[in-house]
């Protein structure tokens, strides 16, 4: 669906079901340089299982207009404003990568609005090496290729895919190309600059599920385990053969884990 926020047209995937703010709201938050298409195999799945799904494209990403936000804190504020405007009292957040930072920041500062957290392939801090940041500024298409290559696990590099005929690497690159050219650089800078993760985690009391990928080169699983240890009511599950793009690489396993967590 389309939603106008601060004069900007925002695209929100609702999984093919009309959004009901009175339902059990599940908000999917994409990562750096990504958009709602991170959640192709989650948004429809959960929308058709009774959840009120929102998978927004952050400004400057996917089918949304506007310019990219520049800090994790700004993303969290933007998210809460979105929930306000849609009439959502509280929601469960499902974040991937940078979306994890947004989720913990929002859960920390807006505790009453967040029911639970599912944190996928994330950590409390996501430092980005200078070379990638510089490449994202100067040659965003090259940076997208690098991230897509590093971000996928070994099975994805052999084009093993649960979606018949689909190719992870080609799809991943095109998804990133859909965004504003400045989006990836802005996202990586926002990740690099975020230092509140540890404090935010310490204040989170909501039930939390951490889904981690053993072959994750972007946010290695050991940092995900530290994140889980820092959150009072957190459980961690590690997928041995998965890379950073866990929701696409192992959708059935991710959906099963999320379903179990949501129906706890």
């Amino acid at each position: 669906m389309k939603h106008e926020q601060d004069g900007v047209s925002i695209h929100i995937a609702t999984g093919g079901v009309d959004f009901d703010p009175q339902g059990q709201v599940l908000v999917f938050l994409h990562g750096s340089g990504q958009n709602h298409l991170t959640w192709v195999l989650q948004s429809r799945f959960f929308a058709h299982r009774g959840y009120a799904v929102l998978a927004p494209d952050f400004p400057g990403h996917g089918l949304s207009g506007g310019t990219p936000l520049t800090s994790i804190e700004a993303h969290a504020d933007w998210l809460i404003a979105l929930l306000d405007q849609l009439g959502v009292g509280s929601a469960t957040l499902v974040g991937h990568s940078q979306g994890v930072l947004v989720a913990i920041e929002a859960a920390s500062r807006y505790a009453g609005r967040i029911d639970a957290l599912a944190l996928i392939a994330g950590a409390l801090a996501i430092p980005v090496n200078d070379m990638l940041v510089e490449t994202a500024l100067a040659k965003p298409a090259k940076a997208a290729r690098m991230m897509t290559s590093w971000g996928h696990g070994p099975a994805a590099h052999k084009f093993d895919n649960t979606l018949p005929g689909h190719a992870f690497l080609g799809f991943g690159r095109r998804v990133m190309e859909m965004n504003d050219q400045a989006a990836l650089h802005a996202d990586l800078v926002a990740c690099n600059s975020y230092v509140r993760g540890k404090d935010a985690a310490a204040s989170i009391s909501q039930p939390t599920l951490c889904l981690l990928a053993a072959k994750d080169k972007m946010t290695p699983a050991k940092f995900g385990h530290k994140m889980a240890e820092s959150i009072a009511d957190a459980t961690a599950v590690t997928f041995e053969d998965a890379g950073h793009f866990l929701p696409a690489e192992f959708p059935v396993e991710v959906n099963n884990a999320l379903s179990g967590f949501l129906s706890r």
């Binding site: 093919g16 192709v40 195999l41 052999k158 895919n161 005929g165 799809f171 095109r174």
Partner: protein, 435 residues
């Protein structure tokens, strides 16, 4: 450093990881029509495209999916869908994009069945085509109408061997916001990956060089994922509410893979052009050696070009790598590894000499296929293009005396020796005609 596997490796591995249960190294043939659902919820999820997986082999199949993923990997696409034949691929791709009232701009110099589909069959369903020369970029631009929904051509034309400047035509297509669809049967991704030059949808007859052994008919459609179906309202069945699945919007739900999602959900579902799992297996065996075979095809083609251009009995020879070809300069830039293993030529003595040649050769096979590991010859005017009007033949640059040679992988000395048999027979006919 990139973690991506290279072309030769992908030819062997892409799309398949040995299964956990049996560890079969080769791709198993899943010769089944259907798949047991875990429960009703699982079944509903598959039907509603909430999950990946297989529900009925008309829609998808695990063996066929390996082939699809391998072709998508080799061509650098976001997805591929395999079909029962190359013509099934083209027909279903057109039906996925076009509706009655839509228009196509297409090359006038293509495979006879491609021409037939566009010229004679699709108009019955309200889809019309303007044919233009594939090497005339301005003519392609001028032929675009407000209702044009596809620009279509062959990278290397069959059998005339005209070459399309993919980058230039892609720029025209991009400016007009019309997808560029290319038949890539003659180039294969080993010679050219047109998505990298801006083409949007690729059609393959996998029967030819990709399968390479003449044992299985098959086709594929590769989705480049580089066309914005939602940029305007010109593609409402892809980027608007669709009747299926609670008015699904493929563009919003699948982004760069919107075309493929619709192709499978509607095209495979309603038209049913599915490939058999066993054919997919045979074609996969062929693709494993595609890089090796293509190199040998190119080597033998170069040798046959020397043989033919130097032979006294040969009236003319056409191949894109020859300096006499009008696209020679383009070919050197766009197809540095070679321009395919089809050569067309005419013999002194015309049509009668050509027929004598074809009937005299003993190693080369006279049949209606190309891209086999074995050397093949045919006379297009009396076979593959016999349904095309004389006028269309002329417009397509085809002559009565043309022989189409598909250069195989045999020892080059045996191919040339066989051709000498044909040349001697042709010479006798030519001499008799002259008396």
């Amino acid at each position: 450093m990139s973690d991506d596997y290279k072309f030769d490796t992908l030819s062997l591995h892409a799309g398949h990881v040995p299964d956990a249960q049996h560890g079969s190294r080769a791709v198993p043939i899943h010769q089944t029509t259907s798949y047991v659902f875990r429960d009703t919820d699982h079944a509903a999820a598959l039907y509603n495209m909430e999950l990946g997986g297989h529900l009925y082999t008309r829609i998808s199949n695990p063996t066929v999916a390996v082939l699809e993923q391998r072709v998508a990997a080799l061509d650098g696409g976001v997805a591929a869908t395999a079909t029962a034949s190359g013509m099934a691929a083209l027909t279903t791709a057109v039906m996925t994009i076009c509706s009655s009232g839509d228009h196509i701009v297409a090359s006038s110099r293509m495979y006879g069945a491609n021409i037939n589909l566009l010229e004679n069959t699709l108009p019955r369903f309200g889809i019309t085509t303007s044919f233009v020369a594939p090497d005339d970029v301005d003519a392609i631009r001028d032929a675009i109408q407000p209702n044009t929904k596809i620009i279509f051509g062959e990278v290397i034309g069959n059998p005339g061997l005209d070459v399309m400047d993919v980058e230039a035509v892609a720029a025209v297509a991009r400016d007009a916001h019309v997808p560029l669809m290319l038949d890539c049967t003659f180039n294969t991704p080993w010679l050219l990956k047109p998505v990298s030059l801006g083409a949007n949808i690729l059609i393959h007859s996998l029967t030819k060089w990709m399968g390479g052994h003449g044992v299985a008919i098959g086709g594929a459609v590769v989705d480049g994922g580089n066309f914005d179906w939602g940029k305007d309202d010109r593609f409402p069945t892809i980027a608007g509410p669709h009747y299926a699945m609670n008015e699904i919007n493929f563009h919003e739900e699948f982004g760069p893979a919107a075309f493929t999602a619709k192709f499978r959900a509607e095209g495979m579902y309603n038209f049913g052009p599915s490939m058999s799992p066993t054919n997919a297996f045979h074609i996969l065996q062929g693709i494993e050696t595609l890089p090796l075979r293509m190199q040998r095809h190119m080597d033998n083609t170069a040798a046959m070009l020397t043989f033919l251009t130097e032979h006294d009995q040969v009236a003319w020879v056409k191949h894109p790598t020859l300096p006499t070809h009008p696209s020679h300069e383009l070919v050197q830039r766009m197809l540095p590894r070679g321009a395919g293993s089809i050569i067309v030529f005419g013999l002194k003595g015309g049509r009668a000499a050509g027929q004598a040649f074809i009937e005299a050769v003993q190693l080369s096979s006279h049949l209606a296929n190309v891209g086999d590991a074995k050397t093949l010859v045919i006379h297009p005017a009396s076979t593959t293009h016999s349904h095309i009007s004389a006028e269309a033949m002329r417009e397509g640059g085809l002559s009565d005396d043309m022989i189409r040679l598909s250069v195989g992988l045999e020892d080059i000395a045996d191919i040339t020796a066989d051709f000498e048999l044909g040349m001697r027979a042709a010479a006798r006919v030519a001499a008799q005609a002259a008396e």
